[in-house]
């Protein structure tokens, strides 16, 4: 099936299977920042923004994205760089596998929530797992990022 998706501002047309998931379509077409992890919506490494909202691309059919805008971490380079520096400063990073998905969810959270509490941040990010950091240093970095204008 022909599916037209605006990816990072550029309209792309793909031939996809009816039961193909967005993560597979994106990776097939070299958007490798979108990781494939649990494949069951649990880990968040496949997160992309669909019309600005974070979604688990492993559980979203590619055909459903037809006519919509998809954002991967490459399109938010400036914001991701700020977050990456804060991660470095707080020692919140190790293997980096979860970072693209986490950065996109944090970016969406910043746009959606006004002055979130620690609990708000934890609740919003519960779907983005990190097996290295233990979350405490990540939380410090993300909190600092939320205060960056």
């Amino acid at each position: 099936m022909k599916t037209q998706i605006k990816i990072n501002g550029k309209i792309r047309t793909f031939e996809v299977e009816p039961d193909e998931y967005l993560v597979d379509t994106l990776r097939k077409h070299h958007y490798y920042s979108v990781k494939k992890g649990c494949d069951t919506s649990s880990c968040g490494v496949c997160t992309v923004l669909l019309d600005g909202k974070p979604i688990a691309s492993c559980s979203y059919l590619s055909v459903k994205a037809n006519g919509h805008a998809v954002t991967t971490v490459e399109a938010i380079e400036e914001e991701a760089t700020i977050l990456a520096k804060l991660f470095g400063k707080e020692g919140a990073d190790q293997c980096g596998f979860c970072n693209p998905g986490l950065a996109l969810t944090v970016y969406a959270m910043k746009k959606e929530l006004n002055n979130p509490t620690d609990e708000d941040i934890r609740t919003y990010l519960v779907g983005n797992l990190c097996r290295c950091s233990g979350y405490v240093s990540q939380h410090r970095a993300i909190k600092a990022y939320m205060e960056v204008i």
């Binding site: 009816p18 559980s59 459903k64």
Partner: protein, 267 residues
């Protein structure tokens, strides 16, 4: 799940006719498709039918079947309705990226045993509107699916004011529940729903009758009500918890839930 053909009709009757084909099925948000070991010859996506809005009147909330869980959770009125019981239940469903995909219609129509949402919807006395069948109660739909294939259009919650409670027990934040309980109290009338048994949510009707016939509640009456709940509800075992564990959990959670809604002032 395998899908051989995908269609996104913009006309309800067209969607209904397609659904009547052999092995045709509806695709809502698609969040749980991977869990279903099935092949659809015709996958019918309802995204083109404008079923994705929440309408509020003085009497009701009317929720389109394609409304996402995140839309409900962040809806200023529905999200906070009855002590924010729906918001509380939805906030336990994995993360925001999946709640932006999963729809209320998919959850209800799937009659999923693992659902965090069906339990409070049952306690809130939700009604369902199907294209051909018309209105049915969620309670009856969970007991027995419709005999004919139909399209779920709306979920209606009648506005009533009182207290509501929801609690869930999970092994980890991102897992499905081992058991969940939702209790409402409107005036002096209680509704007690128990889900993830691991089968779909049910009302504890004998427990409700016992509570509702007692004009004044005490700790002893509440304890007895919780005992009635575990006697009348059937539980099972799965990878997340045993029948015995669920039975114990149910008693404790029902007792705590009743106390929470019974002993505090109503709105």
């Amino acid at each position: 799940m395998k899908i051989k053909t995908y269609t996104m009709p913009t006309d309800l009757e067209e969607a209904y006719q397609l659904l009547q084909e052999k092995d045709a099925g509806i695709i809502a948000g698609g969040a749980w498709l991977k869990l279903l070991p099935k092949t659809l010859t015709q996958g019918i996506d309802l995204s083109g039918l404008k079923l994705d809005t929440i309408n509020e009147t003085e009497e009701n909330y009317t929720i389109g079947s394609m409304v996402t869980l995140r839309q409900i959770e962040t809806h200023t009125s529905l999200g906070t309705y009855m002590d924010g019981v729906l918001q509380e239940a939805i906030s336990h469903i994995m993360g925001v990226p999946i709640r932006n995909i999963a729809t209320i219609g998919g959850t209800v129509a799937g009659r999923f045993g693992f659902s965090d949402l069906l339990t409070p919807l049952l306690a809130l006395k939700a009604n369902l509107v199907f294209y051909k069948k018309g209105q049915v109660t969620l309670e009856s739909y969970l007991k027995e699916a419709l005999k004919e294939k139909d399209i779920l259009l709306q979920i209606i919650i009648k506005k009533e004011y009182g207290k509501a409670h929801y609690t869930t027990v999970k092994k980890t934040a991102n897992d499905f529940p081992i058991l969940n309980v939702s209790i409402t109290k409107i005036g002096t009338h209680f509704r007690v729903a128990v889900g993830a048994r691991p089968s779909a949510a049910v009302l504890a009707t004998k427990t409700m009758a016992y509570l509702n016939e007692n004009k004044t509640l005490s700790d002893d009456i509440i304890e007895k009500a919780a005992k009635i709940a575990v006697e009348e509800i059937s539980f099972g075992s799965n990878a997340r918890g045993s029948k015995a564990y669920r039975t114990q959990l149910c008693k404790v959670l029902v007792e705590r839930g009743i106390k929470e809604v019974a002993y505090e002032n109503t709105n």
